[in-house]
């Protein structure tokens, strides 16, 4: 069975500092990987996704993530954060054409808090 582990439940960081949000997954098959962001009192919005090809994926708002198959990781990074990046971030995985077509397995989320 697939699972997703987000290693940090909360990450405080100062404005303009770099940040990395960690995500590890377990799966016996090839996967698609996603990062979603949830701003306060809103639904989830897709930040970026890895389907195939280049292991470095760029998303919206200056975020990027790197797929590492050997370490089964998909960590999210931003070189310089803004106050407006304060939100909860979710990593998700979906297998290729599995029995539950189109289902995503979500991690428990990481709350990023950017301080001035």
């Amino acid at each position: 069975a697939q699972s997703v582990t987000q290693l940090d439940s909360q990450v405080p960081v100062f404005e303009e500092a770099p940040v990395e949000l960690r995500c590890n997954y377990s799966s016996s098959v090839s996967v698609y990987l996603f990062w979603y962001v949830q701003y306060p009192n809103q639904g989830l919005q897709l930040l970026l996704k890895y389907l195939s090809g280049s292991t470095l994926v760029k998303g919206i708002n200056g975020f990027e993530a790197e797929f590492n198959k050997s370490q089964t990781s998909f960590h999210l990074r931003k070189p310089s954060v803004h106050i407006s990046d304060t939100a909860e971030y979710f990593c998700a995985v979906s297998d290729h054409g599995g029995g539950s077509q189109g289902n995503l397995i979500f991690g428990k989320g990481t709350k990023l808090s950017v301080k001035p």
Partner: protein, 114 residues
Amino acid sequence: DVKVTQSSRYLVKRTGEKVFLECVQDMDHENMFWYRQDPGLGLRLIYFSYDVKMKEKGDIPEGYSVSREKKERFSLILESASTNQTSMYLCASSRRGARSYEQYFGPGTRLTVT
């Protein structure tokens, strides 16, 4: 612009009431999903549907049912609301056979059961 809407942003109901949460998508997506979100637990799948009148149980279906009479609408029903169903409920949709399985989310309904 893709859009998933949910009937209420905030809802307060009493224990034992029957509660309907409605979700509508305008993207002609085949797949629709209901999740509940609780602090520290992330998103947990309640039910999903791949087509009209079809439904499948997710990880936590107990105490819930769903209805999908039209392609664009997916309803979540709490037959007899209980306090442990106080939560944020999120609806999502995706295209069948889409290479990425990317899901699009509504704004959520925060339900309080007193």
